[in-house]
Symmetry: C2
Subunit: 397 residues, 2 copies
């Protein structure tokens, strides 16, 4: 039987990261390729205690259907935290719970974009989101980045030349995959451009709270006087990724429609994980827990930068992130990226080739992404040493 797939999915393949991720079940491989948070960052004992208590004192609520917008207590706690800590949320905004940040991104695209509409984003960008846009029939166009984030001159050109742009997808803080953070000046310019060209901004901020160096910057949503920013956050990097709890905050007219779309996708996000998040926020000190994750990643990122400074030939350039999970390494001319990545895998070091994050699937790349979150300290040093030696070998031809 030959199946007749929809046009939007016909040419789509499983994401490269997911496939590499699957190969990572081999424990002898140093997993620089994963996008997983450090397992040490999960508050395991607290979650076990909370979950046990919920299933003993309020089991029917945890096991019965809930409402699409999310568990009311969690919605309130998240909205309050966004407001008091980050200045996010206006009187006509609404916060809902989604099944991980990924669902928030997908629903926003589905609600706003017709097939053939354009989504602009940073290039490179998070492959999971790009594929989600494509699976909705949207056309993804990448705008090059500079040190300050997305290149605003090129962004304006794209907005001017393409009347089908509906959505501007951005990860302003500790961007995936580059680890870069958009400067305040660029944030202001980007917001102005979106207002001027009547485009909705989808601000994806899964790593925002993982800052371990430098100065906090305001989110685009906190500047949103016009109601054009959809803010997407997540508990995946601060409590548990496997629980799949994210949230969206935007103008309620837009959110009501997103709720209709969510209803059709999964009715509601599972109750037990929602209740665990709510009780954690209420009964524990989430800010203190996040501070411990920042300390952990500052330490691990430091070890990786130290190893890079020590073992990597000067011809390799890499970012020095102030937070998040990722570093972006650029190879010198003359090294063929895919050969390099394959050779690294043979020596049991898995990295993600930059091509996987390219908006234009045909385009090449000279960079790869590494994470310091999941590997151990010893693996970080050992893995970077191996990559450094490999660069030297490749340079010699």
């Amino acid at each position: 039987m030959n199946y007749n797939f929809s046009e939007k999915l016909k040419n789509m393949q499983p994401s490269a990261i997911r496939e590499i991720f699957k190969s990572l079940t081999d424990p002898s491989i140093i997993a620089f390729a994963a996008g997983n948070p450090a397992p040490e960052s999960f508050p395991i004992e607290a979650i076990a205690k909370i979950s046990d208590n919920i299933l003993k004192t309020d089991p029917v609520k945890a096991l019965q259907y809930g409402i699409t917008e999310g568990y009311p207590k969690l919605r309130e706690l998240v909205a309050k935290r966004l407001d008091t800590k980050f200045g996010i949320g206006r009187p006509d905004d609404m916060t809902i719970i989604v099944s991980g940040g990924q669902q928030g991104i997908e629903l926003t695209c589905k609600t706003l974009c017709n097939e053939g509409d354009t989504v602009l984003c940073e290039n490179p960008s998070f492959i999971g989101s790009l594929n989600s846009f494509r699976s909705n029939g949207a056309v993804v166009k990448g705008i090059p980045m500079n040190e300050d984030g997305i290149d605003t001159a090129l962004l304006e050109e794209a907005l001017k030349n393409d009347p089908k742009v509906k959505l501007l997808y951005l990860i302003p803080t500790f961007q995936n995959p580059t680890g870069r953070t958009m400067s305040l000046k660029t944030r202001c310019e980007v917001y102005e451009l979106a207002v001027r060209y009547g485009v909705i901004i989808l601000e994806d901020n899964p790593y925002g709270e993982l800052r371990f160096e430098g100065k906090e910057l305001p989110t685009l949503k906190s500047m949103d006087t016009e109601g054009i920013v959809v803010y997407c956050g997540s508990f995946s990097k601060v409590l548990s990724s496997g629980m799949r709890i994210g949230f969206l905050c935007a103008n309620e007219k837009l959110m009501q429609k997103i709720v209709v779309a969510k209803q059709g996708e999964d009715v509601h996000t599972p109750m037990l994980p929602q209740m665990i998040c709510a009780d954690y926020i209420e009964q524990y000190d989430l800010d203190a827990h996040i501070k411990s994750i920042q300390d952990l990643y500052r330490h691990k990122c430091g070890i990786m930068l130290e190893a890079l400074d020590r073992y990597m030939p000067d011809c390799v350039k890499y970012t020095r992130p102030e937070g998040g999970l990722f570093l972006w390494c650029t190879l010198p001319e003359g090294i063929e990226l895919n050969e390099f990545v394959q050779a690294a895998l043979k020596r049991k070091v898995a990295v993600v080739p930059g091509t996987a994050f390219n908006c234009d699937t045909e385009a090449g790349s000279d960079a790869f992404r590494v994470t310091y979150a999941t590997p151990t300290e010893e693996q970080i040093t050992e893995g970077i040493k191996i990559l450094g030696e490999l660069v030297t070998e490749f340079m010699k031809g």
Copy 2:
């Protein structure tokens, strides 16, 4: 700010059931309108014990990212159960875990239908699925039912006249909302028609295991020699609806593409609920538990039928389901459905007007859906008595 919604979602409103469901938070209302399983049907103590054990012995697996196809152990257990108990699954089939049956339905449509393609279904049918098809831009066309299920003569006519039919959505067993079950003869005819016209069948079977009277019938998927049936099942009615665990079984070529679509929607289904389901199947007797749910619903359905036989004027017709959660009551000519439903709500009895399940949103209906699953035995008798009195009052004008 006026938002420019996508064409497919622009005219969609929250589903009527969801809105009625929200109003059901008032405990003084007799909830005949809900689609919830009975809270007594959740194996609360077992789930609490299993969950506690997982979070103590294997917490990182429960809290870390998983793979899109689902928790391998649960996939295996589900595939094995489908095979041995229901004869479902061929060598080239594949079973994946989805975030509730709803997601399985949505992903199948997304993977197969372009905007403007037709999905045929029974009329009336489950509103959640119809809205999910619409939110993907598909056109939903309903085929009338008779006592044996979908009218196959009318189905053939629709297949002949509409070259854009991609999907045939069916709930053959204990259909929602009518509670009717498709006869074996109709099942065979429907399968033949789908093969002849090259259409994929999406068999939605959330209630199939809840048979409390009559003889088991084979699923369409168990007859699927040609690989044209996507089978969608769920743990929502047998373990817990709030955990949102469903599964899909179909030819692996089709499933691989559905996995790509799922990746873009929520990366994967939450791990803890998946692990709870797997451990329940492995450590407890799911079949014995399901038998206890059948006993519960046989009893409650019996009470409702008894009350209907006693209190309902003869002019009202109702189905006598052999399983599932729902009864379908047809009012005599002359009673305006919406006035009746509103009057019932005023007397604290909530039912769902049949119009909510109509494929053609403009069409009227003379029937309403009631459930015996969630209300108590006393509420069932009391609620039906009130509805009976109301019919008499309406008949008198």
